[in-house]
C-alpha cells in the first residue's frame, strides 16, 4: 500500500513540473514586414555615379548564419580602394556604412557590426584609386532579425 501511494505522488509532481517554461519571449517585438525591395541599388548608383561595377577586387566577410540580427560582425577589404560602401539589400533602409580611407590607412579594410532585419545579401562596393568600381555580395542567414519594432 505504502509503495503505491508513493508512486501516485511522484506522478502528480512530474505532471506539475512538466511544463515550467513560460512566456520568456513575450517581450519580443513583433517582426514587421516590409517590401522586398529597398533603396540598395539607388544607393549603389549614387555611390558609383552610375558607373559599371566589376566583380572581384573587394571582399566582404560575414558569418554564413547569424543567430542574432542585431549585431552581425562584418568586415570588408579591397586592395587599393579609396572608399567602400556597404549596403544591406534586405533592410528597410539599405544603407549601412560608407568608409573612406585616408592617407594613413594601412590597408583599405575595416570591420564593424551591423543590424540585419532578416536573411539577405550584404553588398560591398569599392571605389578604386583609378576610379573604377568593384562589387561583391554575401548572403547571410539570420535566425532572429534585428527587430525594427
Amino acid at each position: 500500500m505504502t509503495g503505491e501511494r508513493e508512486t501516485d505522488m511522484n506522478l502528480t509532481r512530474r505532471g506539475a513540473i512538466a511544463l515550467a517554461f513560460g512566456a520568456g519571449a513575450a517581450t519580443m517585438l513583433p517582426l514587421r514586414t516590409w517590401a522586398a525591395t529597398n533603396n540598395a541599388e539607388e544607393l549603389i548608383a549614387a555611390f558609383t555615379g552610375g558607373a559599371a561595377t566589376k566583380d572581384g577586387g573587394v571582399a566582404i566577410g560575414a558569418p554564413e548564419i547569424a543567430e542574432n540580427g542585431n549585431t552581425v560582425p562584418v568586415d570588408v577589404s579591397a586592395e587599393g580602394a579609396t572608399a567602400i560602401l556597404i549596403v544591406a539589400a534586405g533592410n528597410p533602409n539599405a544603407g549601412v556604412a560608407e568608409i573612406s580611407f585616408g592617407p594613413l590607412a594601412a590597408r583599405s579594410a575595416a570591420a564593424t557590426r551591423v543590424r540585419l532585419a532578416g536573411t539577405q545579401d550584404l553588398v560591398a562596393v569599392a571605389r578604386m584609386a583609378d576610379g573604377s568600381y568593384a562589387r561583391a555580395s554575401r548572403n547571410v542567414k539570420v535566425t532572429i532579425g534585428g527587430c525594427g519594432g
Binding site: R32, N93, A97, G102, L104, A111, G148, G149
Partner: protein, 108 residues
C-alpha cells in the same frame, strides 16, 4: 540616458612605419528611427552618423554611419604609424554632439 563612453584600443608604442590595428567602441543606443514605443509613436532616430580617426591632422579613416550599424558601434581598422603623435577619434551624434578620444602613440 546612459552616458556615452568611448573606448579605444591602440598600442601605446610602435615602430615607425609599422601597421597597427585600432579597435574602437562607443556606448550608444543607435536608435534607428524604425522602432515605435507602446503608444505607436515612432521613436526618433538618434545615431552616431560619422566616425573619424585622424593622426596629427592627417586622416586615417572616415565612416559615414547609417542606422543599420549595431548599438554600441564598433569599428576596427589598420593604420600606418608615421611617427610619434596623437591619434584623435571623433564620433558625431545626430544631435550635433561630438564625442572625442585621444590616444598617444610613441615611436621608439
Amino acid at each position: 540616458m546612459a552616458a556615452v563612453k568611448p573606448r579605444v584600443k591602440v598600442p601605446s608604442k610602435a615602430s615607425a612605419g609599422e601597421t597597427i590595428t585600432v579597435k574602437t567602441l562607443i556606448s550608444h543606443p543607435m536608435e534607428s528611427g524604425q522602432r515605435k514605443d507602446k503608444e505607436g509613436n515612432v521613436i526618433p532616430r538618434k545615431i552616431i552618423n560619422t566616425f573619424a580617426a585622424t593622426f596629427e591632422g592627417e586622416e586615417v579613416i572616415r565612416i559615414k554611419v547609417e542606422p543599420a550599424v549595431s548599438a554600441n558601434p564598433y569599428f576596427e581598422f589598420d593604420m600606418k604609424v608615421p611617427g610619434t603623435g596623437t591619434l584623435a577619434f571623433a564620433w558625431t551624434d545626430d544631435d550635433g554632439t561630438v564625442y572625442t578620444e585621444d590616444k598617444k602613440i610613441e615611436v621608439a
